[in-house]
């Protein structure tokens, strides 16, 4: 037998034996939990993420949309069909429709069967009557009309409308279509007709303003493939749009949901990794005698290394497989539980299995291997003198491996470098502070040990004697508690802040096109029912020059930038920065500032390549004016308030034709209000964004649910950390307790001193953990989630309570077992 295979055999053999003998309980539990937590979370977030994406797809009524102002090639739909992706097409164009004498401009949407592919239409028999949700289009010869269109035509369902050359009968009121959007450009109310009727209207002629959409939906992978296949084939007028490029509100919400989940999963995994580190260290320490013996009878360092690696690989694979299995089961249970709330989730991806196994090996390699590597250097002399151990491992090796594994985990889990960096920095800072505090505690313990009573003396002496162990315990307990507290911050405070950005009374109707002479009247009418509100001025203009260069000659940093600049933009003015905006660069203007200043939204400025100091030239119906960019601000789009890419200082836009916008919250009792406004002021357009609000709320709810779940797993990991820390000192305590009891100490005395020792360590760890969680939670809120920072005093109370309660309890339980162990047996085994 070669030495190599004999090392492998010995490694595997000893692990299997240790497994049977229960020696590996905590280490295996830690790895299993780390793997099952992350795979369950992985499986689950994968599924919820896809469910959220699918829901978000409702904004497009599809997963992917090809848009063009020319008819879209048949070949695209064929490609989709080949991949098993569903398709439907929608042709839309503006047209005046007639009902007898009355006429109104309508946005004609002509859809084929299958529309909408994602989400449902809401239709009713009467305007604002009881509605039902359907996935259907009107049969040929029929049309479904927006209530606003009927109001303008002063008509009711049943009316026959002249649409170009065709006559269509309105059979339903169209209350909602998922892709109606919440943008101001969708001005005219919708008339949904069957695509088969388009030809009969004879409205599509050369030169007509028509837009075509090919809607596509299917399994995520297929859609992804299709996306990649279509992209290179797109013509100049064609544009691909997926959920991520959909409305800024849902995109914003989705991004935050992903961050929340990623963060929660991340901290859970880190906790488990800490447990693995602690348990791995204990395991390694228990191998010292066996290794010393092997070296004594003549094995080489490399043989020891091979044995250790075999042990680690065996543990990694066994625990990894068990963990993946458990994770998969946990996730099935959870999905069943959730199906009530969120409908059927898409199935879990199998890639997670390999991720789980890889994770198991990674965690062991990063957190347990360094201590195990030390075993190579166990002096054989230990067989004669038990007090000699391996020399301290090279700091570079121990910390290098742990840091590398930590970072790999972090970036794998968070998939967001900004978030990962903050958590990495926060955890590192906390560990340093904790270790420093631990050292101070040990130092203090060496000073005050003689000045207290018997149990106290022994407890404090214990902290001092186990110096390294005490520092490690403060750090591990503290990190564990910090992460648990941070999770409560995320689960509670941060989630609440997020939800608070979209309160129950968030604006759900936009009233646009309010003429200056109607403004006072509309405002009075709205205020009579809804209380105080402000009308926001709106000017439509086109950017023609940026920093002296005509926009046609500019190379834009992104395609989006060109699109945003090319289209007619909505501009507004204000003297004060809106509350859901944050100034990033430059200064806000004073109340009496000169006209000609403009404030830019961050992403717009980036995509259009505009910086502070650039002069922008605008064209408003043939008239030209300029303004200088003076500051850049971020906008919280998912607040659903009226917001603009470009906001001007007062006086700049006043001379030009403008209208006003109002955003209001209309509750059920006031549903008829907007109808009253439209009747009294026919030019005003009301946009209902209830559905879009609901979509964002649904994303929030699912994210919240998922975070709760991850929290439960992290809690389990936290408990294993605590157990691992307590177990790590077990041998020494066993021996000490045996000696003490042989010397006549009563069980109560030993338990008391353990209680004091663990309470001191727990208190210190808890307080520092609260500091860490507060600081890191605040930083995450402000820097990562763009949420206001709130101070939570309960964190401190919980931190201390958790520190003392959990640490002392687990410590006592472990000590109890030690004390109950017959001293003779304990002494014999040393």
């Amino acid at each position: 037998m070669s030495e190599r295979s004999s090392a492998f055999r010995l490694g595997v053999h000893s692990v299997l034996r240790d497994l049977k003998a229960g020696e590996l309980r905590v280490l295996v539990a830690a790895v299993v939990l780390a793997v099952s937590a992350t795979t369950a979370v992985g499986f689950f977030t994968d599924r919820v993420g896809r469910a959220v994406l699918q829901r978000s797809g409702e904004v497009l009524a599809a997963d992917l949309v090809v848009r063009s102002n020319r008819p879209i090639a048949e070949s695209y739909a064929q490609k989709a069909a080949d991949l098993g992706v569903e398709s439907a097409s929608v042709t839309s164009f503006p047209s005046v429709v007639l009902a007898g004498e009355a006429s109104a401009l309508a946005d004609i949407e002509a859809a084929t069967d299958g529309y909408p592919l994602r989400g449902l239409l809401r239709i009713a028999d009467e305007p604002y009557g009881a509605s039902e949700e359907v996935q259907a289009v009107p049969p040929p010869g029929e049309a479904w009309a927006d209530a606003r269109l009927l109001a303008r035509l002063d008509a009711r369902p049943g009316v026959s409308l002249e649409v170009g050359a065709a006559e269509l009968k309105v059979t339903k009121v169209l209350e909602f279509r998922p892709d109606q959007g919440a943008r101001f450009v969708d001005l005219a109310p919708t008339l949904l007709i069957n695509a088969a009727d388009v030809a009969r209207t004879e409205l599509i002629q050369p030169g007509s303003r028509v837009s075509y959409r090919l809607l596509l939906a299917g399994a995520p992978d297929d859609v992804e493939t299709l996306h990649a296949a279509l992209k290179p084939e797109l013509g100049v007028s064609e544009r691909l749009q997926d959920v991520r490029s959909a409305g800024p509100q849902i995109q914003n919400a989705l991004q935050r949901a992903e961050r929340f989940l990623g963060l929660a999963a991340l901290v859970g995994t880190l906790l488990a990794a800490v447990a693995v580190g602690m348990a791995g260290r204990r395991y390694a320490l228990r191998q010292i005698d066996a290794v010393a013996l092997m070296k004594c009878i003549g094995v080489s360092r490399s043989f020891v290394l091979r044995v250790n690696l075999s042990q680690l690989a065996t543990i990694g694979l066994v625990a990894g497989l068990v963990g993946v299995g458990l994770g998969y089961l946990a996730q099935i249970g959870l999905a069943a539980l959730l199906s009530e709330l969120s409908g059927t989730l898409p199935p879990a991806g199998l890639g997670t299995i390999f991720t789980g196994l890889g994770l198991s090996l990674l965690i062991l390699a990063g957190f347990a291997l360094p201590t195990l590597l030390q075993l190579r250097d166990v002096p054989p002399l230990r067989v004669l003198r038990r007090d000699v151990g391996p020399p301290p491992a090279s700091a570079l090796l121990v910390y290098g491996l742990a840091v590398a594994a930590f970072l790999a985990l972090l970036f794998h889990q968070a998939a967001d470098p900004v978030l990962a960096s903050w958590v990495a920095g926060g955890a590192a800072g906390t560990v340093l502070i904790l270790a420093g505090a631990g050292l101070i505690l040990v130092w203090l313990a060496t000073r005050v040990r003689s000045s207290a009573g018997a149990s106290w003396r022994y407890a404090i002496a214990g902290i001092a004697r186990r110096g390294r162990e005490s520092v490690l315990q403060v750090a591990a307990f503290g990190l564990g508690i910090m992460v648990l507290l941070l999770l409560t911050v995320i689960r509670g405070d941060l989630m609440n802040e997020w939800r608070a950005t979209l309160p129950e009374d968030a604006p759900n109707r936009f009233l646009i096109n309010i003429q200056p002479d109607e403004a006072a009247g509309v405002e009075a009418l709205l205020e009579s029912r809804l209380g105080d509100l402000d009308l926001v001025p709106l000017v439509r203009a086109r950017v023609v020059e940026i920093a002296g260069t005509p926009t046609g000659e500019i190379e834009f940093p992104s395609e989006r930038g060109r699109r945003l600049v090319d289209r007619e933009a909505n501009l507004s003015w204000t003297s004060e920065l809106q509350s859901d905006n944050t100034l990033l660069e430059g200064d806000w203007w004073d109340a009496g500032a000169a006209p000609g200043l403009v404030s830019l939204e961050e992403e717009f400025a980036r995509d259009a390549g505009i910086g502070i100091g650039d002069e922008l030239a605008f064209d408003i119906a043939g008239e030209r004016f300029t303004a200088t960019a003076v500051n850049i601000r971020s906008v919280q789009w998912d607040s659903f308030n009226t917001n603009f890419f470009m906001v001007f200082s007062p006086g700049t836009l006043d001379p030009y034709p403008h209208t006003f916008i109002a955003s209001v919250h209309v509750d059920d009792a006031n549903r008829g209000l907007t109808l009253d406004v439209v009747r009294q002021y026919p030019s005003v357009t009301v946009i209902d964004i209830d559905a879009a609000l609901e979509q964002v709320r649904a994303v929030m709810d699912q994210a919240a649910l998922a975070v709760q779940y991850v929290f439960a797993f992290a809690l389990l990991s936290g408990i294993v950390v605590l157990l691992a820390v307590v177990e790590s000192g077990r041998e020494e305590r066993l021996f000490e307790s045996a000696v003490l009891r042989t010397l006549g100490a009563r069980r109560r005395q030993i338990l008391n001193s353990a209680l004091i020792e663990f309470t001191l360590i727990g208190l210190l760890a808890g307080v520092l953990a609260a500091v860490g969680a507060t600081v890191l939670g605040g930083l995450l809120a402000s820097r990562v989630f763009d949420l206001p920072v709130s101070f939570n005093p309960w964190l401190w109370v919980n931190g201390m309570a958790a520190g003392v309660g959990i640490v002392a309890t687990t410590g006592m339980l472990a000590t109890r077992r030690v004390v109950n162990h017959p001293p003779v047996e304990a002494l014999r085994s040393f």
Binding site: M1, S2, E3, S6, R9, L10, H13, S14, R17, D18, A21, E23, D289, A290, L293, M294, K295, C296, I297, G298, V299, S300, R301, S302, F303, P379, P380, L381, V383, L384, R385
Partner: protein, 227 residues
């Protein structure tokens, strides 16, 4: 080996000195100790507690390095070898028996005996290990784990493990120190009979004068020096 033949030197201590630093300054544990041990000889190192017996044993076996001086095992200088080199030499030439047995708790009796052979890559290991285990009278306990064995049985397993690789030199550190008198007696009988039949050199550390007297030669240590 025929009587009267000049025996080969297997182990030589040359001016061995071991100092350690303590809070009260440097402590000299061994001071200029030198002797030779011939192949097949049995030697007891005796002395009071703290005389430096175990330290001397550790230096002779290459488990630790002297502050000054050298040990030649089979003519090879232990101080000139690195740790792996010393380990390799031990694997081929040296066996150990300890006061507290040092059996591997996760391996059964047979597996403990097998260990040195497996480490040397011996393919016919099991059969030989079973023979040696039988020679210490533990055939029927071969599948028992150390915790299921009595102290005497554990030391017999340890003795089997020490002899199984046919070492040139066997070091025994208080081999009967943890055993009651009659068990100790039986273990010592076994040790000397195996030693006699295998021609192994035996270096035994003990403070038990009776046990020491069974060796051909006694080296007495006091305060780190040979008397």
């Amino acid at each position: 080996m025929a009587e009267g033949n000049a025996k080969e030197t297997v182990l030589e201590a040359i001016g061995l000195t071991k100092k350690v630093s303590s809070p009260d300054g440097t402590l000299t544990i061994l001071d200029d100790v030198g002797f030779t041990i011939a192949s097949g000889e049995s030697v007891a190192i005796v002395g009071e507690s703290g005389a430096g017996k175990s330290t001397l044993l550790a230096l002779l076996a290459g488990l630790d390095l002297p502050t000054e001086g050298d040990v030649l095992l089979d003519g090879r200088s232990l101080t000139e070898l690195d740790e792996d080199g010393r380990a390799a030499l031990r694997a081929r030439r040296v066996g150990f028996i300890f006061q507290s047995f040092h059996l591997i708790p996760s391996l059964n009796a047979l597996e403990n005996v097998l260990l040195p052979l497996e480490l040397m890559g011996d393919t016919a290991a099991t059969e030989h290990a079973e023979e040696v285990l039988a020679s210490v009278g533990l055939s029927d306990r071969r599948h028992h784990y150390p915790r299921q064995l009595s102290g005497g049985e554990r030391q017999r397993v340890a003795i089997a493990r020490a002899f199984v690789a046919r070492p040139a030199v066997l070091f025994a550190d208080e081999p009967t120190g943890n055993l009651d008198a009659s068990t100790g007696q039986r273990v010592a009988d076994l040790l000397f009979s195996l030693n006699g039949s295998s021609g192994t050199t035996l270096v035994l550390v003990t403070h038990d004068r009776v046990l020491a007297a069974r060796c051909e030669r006694q080296l007495e240590l006091a305060a780190g020096r040979l008397l």
